[in-house]
Amino acid sequence: MRDVAIIGIGMTKFGELWEKSFREIGIEAGLRAIEDAKISGDLLDALYVGNMSAGKLIEQEHVSSLILDYSGYSSKHLPAVRVEAASASGGVALYEAYLAVASGMYDFVMVGGAEKMTDVGDAEANRELCSTADNEWESIFGATYASLFAMLARRHMYEYGTTEEQMAHVAVKNHKFASKNPVAHFKNTLTVEQVLTSSPVATPIKTLDCAPVSDGAAAVVLCPWDHARKFCDTPIKIAGVGLATDTIALHSRRDICTMDAVVRASSKAYHMARIGPKEVNLAEVHDCYTIAEIVEIEDLRLVKKGEGGKATAEGQTDIGGKVVVNPSGGLKGRGQPPGAVGIAQVVEIVQQLRGEAKERQVPGANVGITLNIGGTGATAFVSILKREN
């Protein structure tokens, strides 16, 4: 297996992009990544696209060929693959692309993630998210996506003493970062008080504990590490990857407060990168709800199990803390286009490791980790990215 580098990144603004179509945002992100990589698009060997629900949300399937076609490459007849793994679609697409380059099958690969959520109403968008849980044994009884995370939160509060105030700190921190991110869905900052008094969605989760549903796309260009410096002054190495799964329904997990898929995927990634959690400077995790960030930083072993809430409230996950979590603003602040999330997380870490994150720059960023989950944690993708000087 060869080492693999990221030599180009690109993304659209996240938010309600009424004026733009699915194919427009997909291509916009891709072209930016090509431009950033300073390669000719003619070098590309293949395209991987992460997308959750285009069939339901925009009534368009077969989006792999669609994106390639409208990128202007139909006459090259390149391989194009769409990957679906709920909100982990982008991450799993990256995993597949990584394997293809590492194996020697392809040299230059574009990986994109895109989702258009706002062509349908909120109810339909939420139903789509809920269909990533077990439709026949969770959703049919009236469970919503938020309610599943709410039951995880309630049990976490019971077992570890996590509080609603600690959860609110996740939202406050992530909105603060988002306010400095030009592509973020939300620009407003929040107070703990505002989060705590926002209207209940599924107790203990309130409106301001929830990530929004957004439109958006992100893309990266991969190539073998040995070629990378020809195109790029600061190529970023994919030092480790891990992909793991668990039961589709939350209620069937060994422990509903631990995402075993996250534990497994991150163990593989740490092992491959030959580093431990202590060496990680920054993380982009899947904060679809504030409790998710708390559980995930525990299961990535960035903090001790049960102490995710406490660490967040103490500022351990903010600039100046032990490990900076979601400097992009996360799903909560930057936004949540499910298929694009996993790629956008990588885009943020690459910007940070290159030292190009401007106002959001994390000082001394050398090693970053991303975590992209599908459903309530039935899929987990982890990548460890490294700047090599």
Partner: protein
């Protein structure tokens, strides 16, 4: 949910019928075709099993932003229930105030109308749970 998909599961949703692996005796609900512990050894040995209708609340939430078809039930209580026979399931808790529900509360199954498929106009039924009133 489309109608055939719902009708197929009626015996299970009406009566808490799951399966037991005859190889290791572990009970599963909802039914599974293979045992996740015994794999190949369980093929053809997953037998129907009527679960006890009692359990305890493992976790719960009160829903204010409902799933489609549940609008007229707001607010309603969803729970993950630890059944006596081992499996956990997701179901509503009814016939009580949200403040009465706690992690560890004892519950038993009741048969109720679940919801409505607005488009098809189909009403469907299945299990919910109610608090077990403690004897005085």
């Amino acid at each position: 949910m489309q109608i055939p998909r719902f009708w197929r599961q009626i015996p299970n949703r009406y009566n808490l019928i799951g399966v037991q692996c005859e190889n290791c005796k572990k009970v599963y609900f909802p039914p599974r075709i293979v045992c996740p512990d015994c794999h190949r050894l369980s093929i053809g040995k997953m037998k129907q099993y009527k679960l006890s209708d009692k359990g305890v609340v493992h976790s719960y939430t009160v829903i204010y932003e409902p799933a489609e078809g549940f609008e007229n039930q707001v607010p309603y209580i969803m729970a993950i229930i630890q059944l006596e026979d081992g499996p956990r399931i997701t179901a509503q808790i009814v016939d009580c105030n949200p403040e009465e529900v706690k992690i560890g509360s004892r519950v038993e199954m009741v048969f109720r109308r679940l919801g409505e498929d607005g488009k098809a106009g189909i009403i469907y039924y299945g299990y919910k749970f109610a608090l077990v009133k403690t004897q005085t």
